[in-house]
Structures are given as C-alpha cells and as structure tokens.
Symmetry: D2
C-alpha cells in the first residue's frame, strides 16, 4: 500500500518533512507547491521526488493523494487547511495549529465535517529521549508531578514572517512555548486550568528580517487541575545554539531531559567543523554535537506514526483537538500578558 | 587582635557558625546561649569553645564581646536582634532578616541608632562557584542579563518550627526563595520592580514535625527595573538531596551554576557510604558527593569576610539593608499569592 | 525486492537481529534454527516471523535464502560459516569473527571461494554518536590523533559459554576489547603495528555460569603505524551498568564519546522503574536511562546497511577482512599477555 | 608561634607557594632568592613579603628560619636540598623529588642525618575532590580497586627547562605522570610491583622554548601488588586547557574524579572573559571555569598541612620517602620505555 502525500511550502520545515517521508517506505511524494519555485525544485532534486512542482497550491490539491503537508507561515494554516480538507485530504500541519483559537476551531470542525484527520506536528512528543521520560513518568518512577519547567531557546527564527504579528500570530510564546506546553500537558496527563505570562522584546532589530513586532521572550506558569505549577521560559535571543530542556519534579523523584545539550558526545576543536546542531553560533572550542539530529528530535518517528495511522485508520497521538487545546492555553497566556494576572483557560467546545 | 563572638542558639546553623569561626584565626567564641543545654554543650566540646554555656541569652549579651551570632527560629530574630544591638554588639543574623518587613525595618533602624553593623548571612553570595559566576557577569562575559532562573530544593527542613506560620513567617519561599532572590539581585545588580508568585502545600503531613502550615512549594517571577524577568522555584518536597541551581541568560551568553549536582566527583556504589551531601536520601547507586561541603557553599568564607569587616570597620557585602531589601521582595511575592496578579515591590525608606 | 534471511541461534544477540530485521522493510526471515526450541519459538512469535523452526541448522541452510545470521557461541562460528558459505549464502556474523586468526582466515577464504560476502557485525561503527564522532575526525576537527582510549565494561556476560576458554576463545578482551579495537582502527584509519596487553581474573566464581576460565579484565595498548598510542580497558567485573567510552586526543582537539552514560536524560527515582539500560544493577537513585537503546547502539542501522549492500551488491564497511584484521590484533595482544612485552601484529595474507 | 619560611625561585610555582603562605596565619616569608631579580621583587610586592631579595641562595640559607621552599628546575633540587638541610632547615620541595632515584636517595638520607623533614609537594593529594574520593575508597564505597586510570594533560609547560633532558630529567611522564602515580598509590594503598610504559614526541618544535628533547606524551600501566592494573596517560600536546582525571574501578562500584572539567559552572560566552583555568586556549564558546582554582587543586591546604606538621612536629602525609617511592616507579617506567617490556620496580632501601 502506497500513501501519497503532497507538500505545500518549500522552506526549513518542508525540508524536514521531505527528509522524513524519504525515510519511510510506502510513502510517495506526489508534488510540491510553493511560491518559491527555486527552493521547491531543489527539494525535488535533493530527495528524488517523483511528483512535479506546482505554482498554485489548488493545482496540487486537485491531484489524487491521501494527505497534504502544510509547511507554511502560520497565517496561511487556516485557509490552506480548509481547502485541503474540502478536497478530502488528511492534513499534516506544523505547530501551531493556527494563529488563534477561532481559526483553529474552524479547522477542527472542517476536519470533522470532511471525516478527515488532522495530524498535528509536535515532534518533541516523538523524540526518543522525551518518549523514554514519558515511559518513566507513566510507570510511576517519580510519583505524582507537582512542579516542572520547560525551556526552549535559540537566537531567533530563520524567516522574516516569524517576527510579524499578522503573519505569525505571536512570537516566542506561540513558536517555542507551544512545544513546551504540549509536552508538559502530555507528561502530566492533566488539563491546564489557569495560566500566567509576561513577555518582552529584548532584541527588536532583526537585521535582514526587519523589526521584531512580536515578543522575543516569554516567561509564564501553567496551573494544572491537579495543583501542579509548571514554568515555561521561551527565548529568541539566546546565543550558543538551539536548546530544549524539560524538568519534571515528582513526589518520588525527578527527571531532566535535555537532548540538545546533554549529549553522548563532547568535542573540543581548535579548527571547528561543519555542523554541530541547529543555530550553533560556533563549532570551535567545546561543543556538544547532536548525532542524527532529525531522529534525536523525533521528525521521522513522527511522520512514521502518522503514516501508520493513515494505513491503519487510527487517530494519531497528536491530532487536531490536541493542537487546539494547546492553542487555547497559549491564547490564555497572551491574555495574561495584558492583564498582569492569572487567567483561566477556556477550551472551545467540540462534539 | 581577637574578635569575640557569642552565639545564641545551638541547632543546625549554630553548628555551621561554630565550624566557620573555628577555621578563622583571631576569633574567640565567648559562650553559647540556648534553651537546649545538651546540644549547646556538645558544640562547646566539639569545637573546643572556651566560653561557658548560658541558659538565658541576656546573660550572654551582658558579657564583653564584639558580635553576636543569632541562630534562632525566624520568630525570635526581631526580639534578640534588638536586645543585642542595644547592648552594643554587632549581629550576625541568618536569612531571613525577620518574618516580615515591619520587623526587619525595626532591626535595621535599631542598628543605625546603635551604630552597629548587621551582618546578614547569605552564604551563597560567598560560595566560590557563585563568586566566579559573578566575576564573569561583571566582566561582561554574557552581556546584559534579560532572563534567568533560580531553584532550590530538598525534602524539607530539619526542625519543626520551619513548618509553622507564626514561628517562621512563611515556608519554602521565605526559607529557600530568599537565597535565590538575594543571588539574582546580586547578579543582575538591578532592583526588582514587580513580582508574581503562587504557592502550594504538596505534603501537609510532616510526621514528627506535625502539620505543614506554610507553603512547601512556591513558584514566582521577578521583574527587574531593566526589564529582565527571572523565575524562581522553591520546594520542600523533592527527594534526592539538597540542590541549588542558578541559570543566567544574557544577550551574549549564558551561565549555569549548580554546585550541588554538577560535581567534580561521580560515584557508583553498591555498598553506599557515610555522607554525600545534605539531605541525600541514599548513597547507593550513582551520587555526586560534594567535596568540602561547608566551603563549597561559602560558610567559612562568609564568616571570614564578616570578621574582616569588623577588624577593618567596613560594611559587609550583605548588610542589614540588603537583607531588608530581599525581605521586601518576598513580602510582595506573598501578596501576589493572594491577589493572583503582579504586585509592585515597596521598599521601606531608610535614611 | 525481498531479501530472505535465516537465523541460526536464539539467544540474546539473535533477538537483536530479529528486532533489527523486523524494522527493515523488504526483509523476510525464513526460519530460525536452534538447539533451544523454546526460545526459538518465542522469537518466532514475538517478531511475527513467517518461517518455521528447524532443529538442525543444515535444514535451514538447505532453504532458499540470501543470507544467514550466525548468532552462536564463538566456537561454532567456523563450522557454521563454512557450511553456510558452501551453500551459497552470505553470512552475518557477530564479533569476533572466530576464536582465532587461523579459524578466521579459513572463513574469509571460504567466502572468497564462494563469492559471497561476510557481513561482520560491529554495531558501534553504526551507532549514531560514534558515526558523528567519525565525521568530526575525518573532517579535521581535532587534527591528527596521537593518543586515545577505549573502555567497555559491565558485570559479565549472560551465558555460560562466554566464561569457557574452549567455547569463547578468550574473555573480556575478545568479547569487549574487540569492539574498542575495531572502533579505534576505524577512527585512526591506520594500522596497528604493535600491541601490549595484560589480563587478570578478578571474579573467578560466576555462580550459575560456573568457573570463569578466561580473563575477566584486560588492559592493553595499541601502537599505530603513525606513532599513536591508544589504551584499551575491558572489564566484566564492573557493577552499575553497561558502559562504553571512547576518548580521542588530536593535535587540534579532543572528542569524548560515551552514549551509555552521557545521556540526554537524568532520572532520580525512589521507586525505581522497569528498564534503564543493559545490565543496570538498579533503577533506584540517579540513573541515565538510554532512549531507544537498540538504535543508540546501532543495531538496526547496521542491519539496514547490510541489507542495502546485498540489494546493491556492495561491500559493507565491516566485512570479513576487517573482522580478521581486528582478530589479528587481539591475537597479538594475547601473545603479549604471555610474553610481558610489546608484540608485533601479524596480519594474515589474503589476495 | 610564627613559622619562618624562605623561598628559592620566583617562577610559576614560587607564586603558588607565596599565595598559599599568604593565606596561612602564623607564617612569615623571610625572603626570596632568585637569579631573576625582577620576578622576585614582583612577588615581594604582590604578597607584601617582609623579607628582602637575595641574589645568592646561600645568603638566604644563612638566615634564621624554619623551612625553605625549593621552587627550582628539577636539576637543582639535589644541590639546593642538600644545602638547605645542611643548614638545619626543613624543605618544601615540588614534585618530582629529584631527576632520578640516585639523587632522591641522597636527599632523603641527608634529611635523616640532619633530622629535618622533607615536605614533598603533591598538591592533588590535598585537593578537596581527591580527598573526598579517598574517604569513599577507604570507607569501602567501591569495594576493592582492581582497575583504574589517571590522565593529566595540557598544551605544554611554561618554561624552557621542562623541555630539556638534563634540566628536567624527563618529560610528560616525570612532570605530569608523577602526579597520577602518587594519587593512584595513595588511593590503592598498595605498592606498585611492576610497570610498563612507552613514550613519544608528538610536537618537537616548541617555539620560544626551543626543541622538545624529552617525551611530550607517555602511556603506561602500573601493576600493583594486589593484582590491580592501572593505566596512566600524560600529554603535553592537548589543546583546550589543563585537565586531570582519575577513574577508579572497584568490585562494588566506581569513582570518577575530574575537578578541571566536571565543574559546578558552565558558561557560554560570545565575548570571552579574563580567565577560566590554567592554559585555557580560549574563553569564548562553552567553557567550564574553575572557581577558586588554587583551592580546588589543593595548594593552600597542602601548605597548611605542612605548616601544621612543623608546629606539631609531625610527619606529613607526603614526605620525602613517599616522593622517593613515586620516583622509583617513574624510573622503572623509563626503563620500560627502552626495553619494551614489563619492568620490576626497585625501591631503594632506607632505614
């Protein structure tokens, strides 16, 4: 059985999807649609993709295929998701589901109406170190989690649209925080009842990407229904390199997960070398290169799970409803940044 | 020149003081006052202390000496400090300065009136790893700090009074948080303008120590005048062992300080051994024993600095005003736990 | 194209092979031969293997298939390899190639005669952290390697035959050292000219496995043609858990690889949990569980490479000649254990 | 009671001694003798030393004092020790005791005759992380040690004489290896029976210091009387920074000590900063700065112990006989580098 996938977009994350699909037997990429013909053609060549290039994504949607990968700026998630679902395609959609709950809710309802599945791309939930930690938590290794912390940081995204409110719907919180929130909800297996958050813009001038209109730093706290309080810290102004850390404190122990810095490999190099990890500012001196980066961060495992779900007609671990729930938490956090107080999370009703 | 010191109290921290003074040439302990005669006599024997035991602390205060170490429950800081200052003694007072700002302010004013110095015991500021980090920050190694985090945890204090509101004035926040807040203010060298905090009681039943009336967990955020936001996490419900971590994020780099877990020594022992670190729940399996624990956490260096200040008639790095400032931040955080919103810090006016 | 594989043996390493093959599309296991019917049937059930169970391995060899996995005690490598090759099958053979060079040479010559390939199973060379280190070395990150160290240890193997000279051909050196030697030869990309080694038996009584007749500890030094000296340490008497460390020192830097202890995950558990890593003596206290253990140590990647080589008719990175070269080094080291001096390595001539 | 000390030499290690003595109350430095007047005067000023500068060390020896610190190239240890002892002074002598056993034996005998004490400076034995490890070993935490490893490395010494056979008596082995050997003998509390060693010159051209005539790399193995085998690796050609590692493997556990790299402090700095640790090649990127470096490596604790021994008329942990024993092991290792085989250690007879 061959699963046919079309890809819309040709940037950083489209390349991750192409790589992941190329690792999975039984998947055929039937074509790429993008406004940027050059980068799309490069992906087609690099991953030896059978299907052609389409300028207009509607032309791709009119092809026979099972699913569409939506690798586009946040502002286009809503429009393109609705179009793909209305054509009877499953969708693979990168976090966040949309810019806000209102948009996200319409996407989820459209999927219900079309009887198609939203595969919500939250790679960390498929990363092996995170999965092992989840096994330990679920197996009772650390008792009941009452406190925790998530942190993601790097020096800032690699496309201009991330820095613009209208295109992205927010900054470091909706871009990085959404990862931590998803993982923390998954680990605690509880709903977030209330939130608190404040943000700031530390580095407003982003050179070639123009002005940073959105928060480049955010710090907040999630209050879970079981009483746990968990902090999140998100930053687009941290030199060194991409880093993701989770700490979980339970009544019987603790877990620290940090695949980007606690590495099986330490290197001191006077010469430097080609590549250590995403956004590494140098490879000279001491570094902690990540072996098999894409696999370490769960991209191919995520796509493998999604393809299995299509083949076996199962609901993925991370579906549209999950993506919408996380978005509702983010939206309440943005509200708290304005009010300066704890805000209750409102989860949209879905039948 | 010999500096004469009297000690009031004979518990855990009194032993730390006795040890530290015993390391410093030119210091003579002239006596110990305590309600608990047995433990006081043990200290006198263990550290070969010249001076006698006093039941009533007023009898100790009437002796000729330069300074008094106040190693008592928080609720007695106010009364005993005023008594010692009125007798013309300098005071060494363990954190927190008092149970609240009102008490603390009276202590500071009494010291001004008596023209005596309050030596505020915040050992972390004298710990070598923290000092080295401070050098790096002040030398510009990480640029301007815009985000950070402090965390202290262990499984709970070793005396019943810590768990009682009236005796302690609060729980994990005033006991552990006060360390982190002091260090963060020191590192950023900026005032905290606003705060946010929430607390919880995770483990209310404390066995021999009775009910835990105060928060055993606290999570809050400090907002500094320069715009930096820094989280603190404090817990009395974490198994493993005492742990203190500081992370500082600057525009040009980052620093992680963690003397209790990032150790020069890793041990796997099937047999276990005598002592790894304060409140270690086991010494079997992998542990990270702390070499020269008292020194690692800065106790003798702190006392050496204080004695030097007395000899040279200098103001210590951590004086009563500093202790009062930190207490004002804590008090605003307790206010925030009630209001559920950001609270402005009110610093008491002192000439 | 489907690659058909038969498996001889049903112990620890047979399970690794079955798992790896089950991960690779296009591989069909056509049957398992083993003297132990129970464990063979369990593997057939666990991995949903199509083919039947054979008591006599000759019956398996008479089936139509491309390759045979030889998962047997070292003493049977020679006989079974010759039989499989003579039936026109490729062979997958676990390290060591054989008990000694004489046996190994006959296997290599038999493969040449049969025009079949020996796939020599040295999983570390396919482990992602080791591969990343190799990229860095080859890219010049640390300059020329002039010194290094390999160490593997655990508390001892899980089958009685490992402890018997006749069945195993040696102890910790041929069992664990052979991994380190292979990786070090690979990293330095130089031949070993001379060696030195001494061994000992620290724990002769092995309970259910009887007497340990072979060395359970070995320490030696490899002298490479470029002048580099590299130590190896191998132990079957180390509690804690399986550990593999490589350190490489170059004129421009250094690399430390340690996938079994430098983990992306640290856990403190009072309760303990199911599984941390091979031969972990406890899961209580601090542990460093390995996410995706089989993948971390390179087993499925190794088999994927081998299957690719069969499909594409390529020579694997680790073929029979490589296995024989490593065995020649081991043999010289055993000679040194007797002579107490440096011994020259004699590499058998093969056309 | 004031202990009066004279110092001969004014280089790197003389500064360490001056610093250490300045930390110890009750020690008075009565003068410094050195051929290099400038650096001697700088020390006198920096450490506020009371005593004068002497060109000729005999003039210093004729002063009234208790002990002489010998901070000179190895080739002068013999002559100056004999002179100081004959004047009735105790001597503080940096490792190695002398260039070889013959010289060392004469020094020890001269001390016996003069009834004075040789204080052999092996700082690692006084370093807090090493001391803590010793406590654990002696307390049975890891059972009986059967294997181990010592490694010291940096990029090369800071004076020309180290690189010359006649002045130093050897290279990395006698300079760095002597530390590891001393610590390993101390940890195992057993005598070394036999040794093996090989050396090499990796970087012969040492710029301003001229040709490297001695080994800049050494790798050897110590065979203890209890059957333990312990490797040592020493290098003067490792970039990054000074690093010292000890690993001890026992029947019940293991210990890793690494105060120079396993630090309580991790820093990423784009700007760099003043000082991380001895011979750090950069402070940009990730570094592991050492807090309180001199204390971490045991220098002031060592001198404090020595002064205490003088005051209390005790034998130090590390006396001349200990230094001579370590030197005998080194000498056997040099013999092994020539013979290419295991050599028995001959310990000189002393009554």
């Amino acid at each position: 059985m061959v699963i046919k996938v079309g890809i819309i977009g040709s940037g950083f994350i489209a390349e991750h999807h192409c790589f992941a699909f190329s690792q999975i037997p039984g998947v055929k990429i039937i074509g790429i649609s993008s406004l940027d013909q050059d980068s799309a053609l490069k992906l087609i060549e690099k991953f030896n993709i059978a299907g052609p290039y389409f300028k207009d994504y509607h032309d791709l949607l009119s092809q026979v295929c099972d699913a569409i990968s939506i690798c586009l700026p946040n502002s286009l998630h809503h429009e393109v998701s609705l179009a793909a679902l209305s054509q009877g395609k499953h969708i693979f959609i990168e976090k966040p589901l949309a810019r806000n709950v209102a948009e996200g809710l319409e996407i989820v309802k459209a999927a219900q109406k079309a009887k198609k599945t939203i595969f919500y791309c939250e790679n960390n939930i498929y990363a092996p170190s995170f999965v092992k930690a989840k096994e330990l938590v679920d197996g009772g290794a650390i008792g009941k989690i009452y406190m925790g912390r998530g942190r993601e940081h790097h020096s800032g995204p690699h496309s201009a649209w991330f820095y613009k409110q209208k295109l992205a719907g927010g900054g470091a919180l909706i871009d990085l925080g959404i990862h931590d929130i998803a993982c923390l909800v998954w680990y605690l297996n509880e709903d977030v009842e209330k939130v608190f958050c404040q943000t700031s813009i530390v580095s407003p001038d982003r050179g070639e990407f123009g002005q940073c209109e959105v928060e480049d730093n955010a710090m907040g706290i999630l209050y879970f229904e079981n009483g746990a309080q968990v902090s999140i810290e998100e930053s687009w102004t941290a030199p060194s390199s991409f880093d993701v850390k989770i700490e979980l404190y339970g009544t019987k122990g603790q877990i620290i997960v940090n695949p980007s810095h606690m590495a099986p490999l330490e290197v001191f190099s006077e010469n430097g070398f080609g590549y250590a990890v995403e956004k590494a500012s140098t490879t000279k001196g001491w570094t902690f290169p990540i072996p098999a980066e894409s696999w370490t961060f769960g991209y191919p495992q995520e796509m493998q799970h999604f393809i299995n779900c299509i083949v076996e007609e199962r609901i993925p671990y991370t579906d549209g409803k999950f993506g919408l729930k996380i978005l509702a938490i983010v939206e309440a956090m943005y509200k708290s940044t304005q009010s300066g107080k704890i805000e209750v999370v409102f989860y949209p009703k879905i039948e």
